[in-house]
Symmetry: C2
Subunit: 149 residues, 2 copies
């Protein structure tokens, strides 16, 4: 039940962009350094996020990436699903009709998978990048300490 690095690195990168929201384009190299991710690999992930319209890019020298919209409009759910596809513990409870099982009408384990799926999606859809920024600021104030992420 682990997320792959796609979802995990992707959320870190998006949170990094949220911290720098409004600062103009941020070079992928800097994100990769701060988040300790291979930059060529992160490039592939951010390309997916860009095609999905979650981030914008500026090409050329002094270019980089930025969030396409404000942190409060971007949920953890949309980020993770964009990178990982629909989040479900079993294929029989994704939306794809094709993966239906002939026992679906009376399968009780399917009911369990549905509950897990819904619970995870409720959590990740309820958290925005703005929420994460607020958590981050709280932690920084509490310890009276600055972390430069």
């Amino acid at each position: 039940m682990k997320l792959s690095t796609k979802g995990r690195y992707g959320l870190k990168a998006m949170f990094d962009l949220a911290i720098h929201y409004g600062d103009g384009p941020i070079a992928l190299k800097h994100i990769a350094e701060r988040q300790e991710i291979s930059d060529h690999y992160l490039e592939q992930l951010i390309a997916i996020l860009r095609k999905a319209g979650l981030v914008k890019s500026v090409r050329g020298a002094q270019g980089g990436y930025m969030l396409a919209t404000a942190p409060k409009t971007i949920t953890v759910g949309i980020i993770i699903r964009t990178l990982e596809g629909p989040l479900a513990p079993s294929d029989c409870v994704t939306e794809e009709e094709s993966k239906a099982c002939k026992k679906a009408s009376y399968c009780v384990t399917k009911v369990v998978w549905e509950k897990i799926r819904d619970s995870v999606n409720d959590v990740i859809d309820s958290i925005t990048l703005q929420d994460m920024l607020e958590d981050y600021n709280k932690i920084q104030n509490k310890d009276n300490y600055m972390f430069y992420i």
Copy 2:
């Protein structure tokens, strides 16, 4: 975020044993047939469940497996964790100290992983095999139809 077949097949097998709770030993071959699982593979899974004390076995002809305790005492959570290990979207939020990350004290993505982890565990720990049996009986009565699982 999918479960592997370990957790998925394992829950099906345990539910099958729950349906036949009190009927004496059930041959693995029959469970495998009903649940459409490779029997040699299921053998490996049920060995894990047996070693964890969730099922008992009877060797020899007319032997088989049965739940070690009543369906109401066995949760989906214990079954899945026995087969899959601790359920967490990232290694940094399992209990294992070794997988701690040096950023853990101020990592905001970690907070997200914790919320997902807790939400999944709350769901699976709240469902027992007895609950699944009751759902199963409801479905059967509603449709006025018998499914022989």
